[in-house]
């Protein structure tokens, strides 16, 4: 992007490029007469929300509910573990091997087996998302709790502050930007987890809808689900970014 481009002009260019893409897409599908089960036109995708015999709201809410439940539990659990790791060297040494081993495993790989272990219920879906969201939080928050300004720690200690006070006044606020970085990764992971879990087994949700569209060659409905997923992802990610700004007006990366 040219350096002289103003902010408004920059946004305008992005919107224009997106709209141009949509128009080209529509025209190409028309010109080459591409069948909609191969690649539906934008207008067809728009129509599918009204014509298809699909309860869009129910499927969207099912996916959103699963994703947010797993996300919330994963974040709380991840934060708690990060605090424990930071406060106890012994526990840190004992827990870290498991964290690292599980971290390098592509976690969606365990989804089919989770259903064997926990049954074909929503709990299994939520657990998968908990596992996916938990790691970025543990790693980021424990980093944020540990990488504090040594001078501030010395300053507080010299005034008689104890470990708890240093934790509360220095480590905790210091970890906030790291926490929000973790949240951004976790919130994307939550949607991935929800879709994969629904692929493996479910009777509702956008993942179920996509899989069902494959069986019935209803590619247009799958694209309808993609659009909703994109919107959900943007909304969730945007909420995290917005919350970060509100909570940390002092943050340089904000």
């Amino acid at each position: 992007m040219s350096r002289s481009l103003s902010r408004q002009a920059g946004y305008g260019l992005s919107v224009l490029s997106f709209l141009l893409g949509l128009v080209l897409w529509e025209l190409m599908v028309g010109w080459f007469d591409v069948p909609s089960f191969l690649f539906p036109a934008p207008s067809a995708i728009f129509e599918v929300y009204f014509t298809a015999d699909v309860d869009w709201l129910r499927h969207t809410l099912a996916t959103l509910r699963t994703a947010l439940t797993g996300f919330t539990i994963g974040v709380v659990f991840g934060f708690a573990l990060a605090v424990v790791i930071t406060l106890s060297h012994v526990l840190s040494r004992m827990i870290m091997p498991y964290v690292v081993a599980l971290q390098v495993l592509p976690k969606v790989a365990i989804a089919p087996i989770l259903y064997i272990m926990l049954g074909f219920t929503n709990t299994s879906r939520v657990i998968l998302i908990v596992i996916l969201t938990f790691f970025p939080i543990v790693i980021n928050v424990s980093t944020g709790l540990a990488t504090v300004d040594r001078n501030l720690v010395h300053l507080l200690q010299s005034l008689g502050a104890g470990r708890f006070s240093v934790f509360y006044k220095v480590r905790l606020p210091n970890s906030l930007p790291y926490f929000f970085d973790g949240l951004r990764i976790a919130v994307s992971g939550a949607l991935v987890g929800a879709i994969v879990a629904e692929f493996v087994s479910s009777s509702e949700g956008l993942g179920f809808l996509i899989l069902n569209s494959q069986y019935t060659f209803n590619t247009t409905a799958a694209f309808g689900a993609f659009v909703i997923l994109t919107a959900l992802g943007l909304a969730l990610y945007g909420s995290v970014v917005f919350l970060g700004w509100r909570v940390m007006p002092w943050n340089e990366r904000a």
Binding site: L155, S158, L159, V170, E252
Partner: protein, 269 residues
């Protein structure tokens, strides 16, 4: 003479900090034993600013941490005295080391908060002293580097510490800003009647801010010489080009050179 009487009165004040035969050894991560300090004895008098100059890694910062009580000596004793009882330190670091998540006001308030006191007048006074009264609500990220330093000066004095410890306070600050900050700091020390200890490798800084300069050897650090700065208590920037300032700086520099020559001739030192 009147000057002598003042000097005697000052000398009769109890020393704020007295270190006797201080040694500090520690083990590195590799398991090597390192002697950071050996046989350091010094005292900081009431309302005096004592400077310690020495090369990097000679244990100057360790000395301050020992006084602050955040680290402990392996040999010797430290006596901490305060006219009004409780001994507390103020700290100025190489970086401004403010809390990014706190406003200017809350950063200055921090020491009072930790010692469990409330003193809004002192906070207001110190913020005004460093000229930051229009920025009380600002976060550090919104301030220039020089302004952040001034906030850290206010924070060091707000709780009326027994001694202000300054660890190479203006490292990395550009020369023009630095001279202004040094003047501001010396004015605060004098107006607040504070006692201070400065460690630095900047000879001009040591001379401008202090009443006495001690020269430390490379590791293991020990005190090898003392230079008394014959400048009036009230310092101003014009003194930087005075004969007395040059004399003191030259004397410190000569002593530092001597120490280095001895060090080169005799590796055991």
């Amino acid at each position: 003479m009147a000057g002598d009487a003042v000097e005697r009165a000052r000398m009769s004040q109890p020393d704020v900090v007295t270190m006797t035969g201080i040694g500090k050894r520690y083990s590195t991560a590799k398991g090597d034993d390192v002697t950071a300090l050996t046989d350091v004895s010094l005292s900081v008098r009431d309302q005096e600013t004592l400077a310690i100059v020495g090369p990097s890694g000679c244990g100057k910062s360790t000395l301050l941490r020992l006084i602050a009580g955040v680290d402990h000596q392996t040999e010797g004793t430290i006596q901490r005295d305060s006219p009004d009882g409780g001994f507390v330190v103020g700290y100025i670091f190489q970086e401004s080391s403010l809390m990014p998540w706190r406003s200017v006001y809350d950063n200055v308030r921090l020491p009072l908060e930790v010692v469990g006191r409330s003193d809004p007048e002192a906070i207001d006074e110190l913020i005004r002293m460093v000229g930051m009264q229009d920025f009380e609500k600002a976060y550090p990220i919104e301030l220039s580097g020089g302004m952040q330093r001034r906030v850290s000066l206010a924070r060091a004095f707000v709780h009326k510490p027994s001694i202000v410890l300054m660890d190479e306070p203006f490292t990395g600050v550009d020369e023009f800003t630095k001279e202004g900050l040094q003047h501001e700091l010396s004015r605060m020390i004098r107006e607040l009647g504070a006692t201070a200890m400065l460690v630095t490798h900047d000879i001009e800084e040591a001379v401008f801010l202090s009443d006495r300069v001690l020269i430390m050897s490379p590791r293991p650090g020990r005190i090898l010489a003392e230079v008394v700065v014959e400048l009036p208590k009230e310092r101003d920037p014009s003194m930087r080009s005075s004969i007395k300032f040059f004399d003191a700086a030259r004397e410190v520099r000569e002593r530092v050179l001597e120490i280095h020559q001895v060090g080169q001739a005799d590796p055991a030192v």
